[in-house]
């Protein structure tokens, strides 16, 4: 077990920034959001079990209807790509300020919708592609789209569950791999690959280095102790040190003793 090893463990996903966000997660969310559209376009092909619709259509035919559930980093990046490929994109979210912002930057190229269980279902059953982009940091994703809704969708439609690493936000999702990325359930193509960014390892490595570099330099320059004292954001990431559990959340979840970072180092 990690505690017994005596190691110092810093978790990317709990490092914060001055706005309270999780800056080391953002690039992976951006990558997954953009990839979601690539793989959706590909999964609509007949040989993936899809309906055989071309994502953006061609003049004289209809483009795919795309529903993006969640307008955060994942959803915004998915929307940008979906619009770019010429599809008919709707972003659905409960955060009205966010929808207003998306409307300001994308204008008439994007539709937005306020999220209720009813509106999610209504749009999902009309959609050719649904991207599940609701991630709640540090907790299991809510099941926003249930089996019944899935069963009402048009055969050959595609769902991409970007939240699969946290349990998924479709009731019918099960994690898949890059080698066998999709399965059919109720005639709906499910793309539920865990660790989506792994497929674009080169971009992912650069994107992650960009955000971690300052912390690495901080540690290298000052050593763990001083760096932890000086940088509260880094400190939020320090979960284990010298056999002590310094993450309150983990301590509570595992019913173990919690020792604050500044006492532990």
């Amino acid at each position: 077990m990690l505690l017994d090893s005596g190691c110092t463990a810093i978790a990317y996903e709990t490092i914060t920034d001055s706005l309270g966000n999780l800056p080391l997660l953002a690039p992976m969310s951006a990558i997954a959001g953009r990839m979601a559209i690539h793989v959706a376009a590909y999964s609509l092909h007949k040989n993936s079990g899809g309906s055989g619709i071309l994502f953006g259509g061609v003049p004289g035919t209809q483009p795919a209807k795309v529903l993006i559930v969640g307008g955060g980093v994942v959803g915004t990046n998915a929307a940008q790509m979906g619009i770019g490929l010429g599809s008919d994109v709707t972003v659905i979210d409960k955060n009205m300020s966010r929808l207003r912002y998306l409307d300001e930057i994308f204008g008439s190229r994007l539709k937005t919708c306020y999220a209720t269980l009813d509106s999610i279902e209504e749009f999902a059953v009309e959609a050719d592609v649904v991207v599940g982009a609701v991630l709640i940091p540090g907790s299991t994703s809510p099941k926003l789209i249930n089996r019944t809704t899935i069963s009402k969708m048009k055969p050959g439609s595609v769902i991409v569950d970007v939240a699969i690493d946290q349990g998924g936000c479709f009731e019918t999702s099960k994690a898949t791999t890059h080698d066998s990325p999709t399965y059919l359930y109720e005639n709906i193509v499910h793309y539920c690959v865990a660790n989506m960014p792994g497929a674009v390892a080169k971009t992912s490595a650069f994107a992650l280095n960009n955000v971690t570099l300052q912390f690495v330099l901080n540690l290298a320059d000052k050593g763990l102790k001083e760096a932890s004292y000086d940088n509260s954001h880094l400190r939020q990431g320090l979960n284990i040190h010298a056999g002590k559990l310094t993450s309150l959340a983990v301590a509570k979840a595992q019913n173990k003793q919690f020792i604050p970072v500044l006492d532990a180092i």
Copy 2:
């Protein structure tokens, strides 16, 4: 009667250009196409009998679905304005080259559809606004949308019949005036104002002067005879001269004697 008056009559609508188009009609078509969207937005208001949908919606709500039947000058101008107001616009036409061009200049902001009687009906019954923009120069407009389709449209939807001056392209259209521009039929708001550009007289006058000026200068500089010899496009517009009928089309239609322009002047 005009013939007896001995006047020289030049008809704007039969003057041609080097591409075989009718350049003196184009500006009025552009104006009518753009106005069609203004008046559609206004006619959707409750107090016009409309469904009370805001044309472009606001973040979190759905914009109006707009079907533009015909992708020529009228339709292109209507599309440009409809997109500008943030609505969900589809242009339907049989001319695939035209649809491809519209796709190239408007990209993902516009949908296009190939026109068949079926596809027109299918889109019309889903639309909040239908703009009839099919004008066949010198002939009566085809009735592209019939009473049955109108009766299947959503109550409070709006039709704008830009072709009303040539008989209209909706079966249920009857010409109206700027003072009383709309009527309800089958709960559909009908905007069928004859001479739409009259409402924006200032812009119309400038737009028309822009295209007629060269012909006026030609006549003023050279006199009718020489101008007619030199300028075959102007000659196409000369319908009556000194009691002689110089338009073949009119002569046939009225079963009168036709005398070529160059013999008449």
Copy 3:
């Protein structure tokens, strides 16, 4: 009187959000801002008494010059639509950060101007359309454009006073209705309809539901007392309860006794 009725009164317009904004007013402002452009385009028509300019012009003619006084939610939405229709839009405001943001998202399609009494007058007398979009929450609108400036405007120009519900920001504004929306004063078309969003009741209802739903669910789930304790934003909206006046502002304005919400419930 409301106090005597013993009712519990929650005012939409005093509910806050975490940024100190008034989230239940924003959707109505967005609607009014967008409608302002529709009605301005319509009011420029000759039969409304307007100058007969087509809002966005057509190739070869000049578009309308539009001045939007105020770059908040109303003004931003009006700008988005005004640009979309191809007019020549200037937003005038004293908030430079806001002007910079508008410049970033609209780029070369929008002009911005710093607001002084002089600059407002200078632009107003050149404009074909002036939209008054300055609303100060909970107080009377300042009269930014006075009678003298109005009298210098071009005949047939249009003003749209979106602030009319709070007294209006033109000195010459008087509230009108959707049935008789405009009047001429000094040859300027005044559109001063109170409750503009009423004309698009369907969109307004959805937009309002989107922002109120969470508060309604909160009340339904927890009851008034617990919801008020837990949700400080909702608490800001609770103005009257069980015969007690719980709004400090109202109490002051009416010189009545003020009782804090948490004491009253």
Copy 4:
């Protein structure tokens, strides 16, 4: 053999339009051009053998460099999608008018380059993706990119050979299938699927119907003989009738007797 069967054979690919183009090929070219970008994005993934670059990158990382060889229908559609996904697209062509048009409609989002053997090689070896989009109707594609150039490209780069149905425009291309779409050669991922539009059968069917419908109606209304007399474009498509070879090109290529359509029917 077809001739012996006595059938009447109309070839889609030789029907013309009034501009001398081949209108029944255009929709398939548009589809293949758009798909080329989808499959390129997918083929860059590690598990396809690609370099692991995300097609459009994310903020802070570099997008893929995309070279599109040919700026016709295929290339324009590929460019539109490549730009939409945020990649760094260059279209290379010898037709300067075409490059100018692409510059006018795509502006600063697209780079264009004049095609010479040198410039093609220079850009290809720098590219992450090369789309071969040069189709010469009725003849074998020229091999624009040879084995040597391919061997200089960066490992893990992707080529998509849209011209594979006519022999391909990369020297190293061999036709593949939708079930096994790519192979590695010199560490370059080759996507060379014959009949690309087959994967999006639904969109392809609609797109093809849109352009063929008028000819079908023509034949149904008038019968073969009259339709062939009246419609010279349809006549160009009529290759075999009643055991006679009515296509001059095929007759020459196969050294058989040619009989003009109007003599044969």
Copy 5:
């Protein structure tokens, strides 16, 4: 003299293409049109004698008003750059089809105006920058803007005369050089550099090579005689051969004997 030298002289500016255009002039026009905006922005600086306006302004201030006289290749390229820098651009032209096309591709970012002597003057006196972009191939430019209009322009405004190589289209223009590019006349900064593209020699060389290469290869492959027989466009460029004058236009202008190319070679 050239004739006596016995040389074969091919003139770039008389080579045609299949549309009757002069393809070897187009790239230089594109370069000059784009440069016109760079140098105008620079010439507005105080130390060039300009009015000290920033070309595109900054938020809260007004951008330069730019009038582009002529909407051909020069004018379109100038418009594209002027819009890109955020200025308020109007293109003025007599060709309505061209104005319509510019409106379609630039939308609400560009204003267009029909050219008359009156409208040119009206816009010029309001402008901060006027670009003269009217070139009539093979003839002297018309003086579209006369001394009187220049004298009414605002002090410190800038004119850029792209037509100076053909005599200029401002009455007050005199050719200048890249080393001393501007002079003040009536307080207006005149930029009238002959051979503008010379300043960007690298881009000019590539652009010119792109369009001449095919003719050079043609000559190299086939020799002059066969190339002239086969390629009518090249033939239009052949003005002198073996002491014979093969250009009809030059022969007429100089009152010399004309010998057709095909007789001379």
Copy 6:
């Protein structure tokens, strides 16, 4: 010396706003950022010693590669103009949130890169133009690009050092003037004009008035004492009063006695 004069000195550059920014510096940064692109385009000309590349290229040739070091106000404005002129722009910065925002508003028209010493060098040596846009308020600019990197750049490339007023961010920069704006060093054109906005004095004056006016009115209305009490932002700007040094930073730097504003007035 200022202190002895007994004057009251208010420094524009230390007045703050509610976000902690320096609002009186922002307009000059915006101006300098936009001008940086104008002067870069001009400095690329042969007669300035530049490489002779046209900033945005023309169809068929390559545009300039532009590296903007710093994505703040200066860099964002430079990027907007650089994109507008059709060049290939990369913004490099360490602030990932800022890069994400730039990506959202500019989309596929802009590239962004995370700043490290390595990445800055790598992009600089490939660039045709490098804009140094890193200003650290109240301190000397860091030398982000050193002599070695400059010596590796392509001959005729251009650097614009917007930070020259604070010492410059290129190691080889020396301040120049508007009359002699550039010098060659290692064959690189250096544009290092101090007080760039001086060249566009008219726009600069308006832009500065826009942001200072409220403080001037404040002082005029209330007098220094009351204005200083009421307005903490103004107070931050008050550096000297009645012989007392009221700026802590200046007092420290000059080792003099510091007296708080509220004690001094």
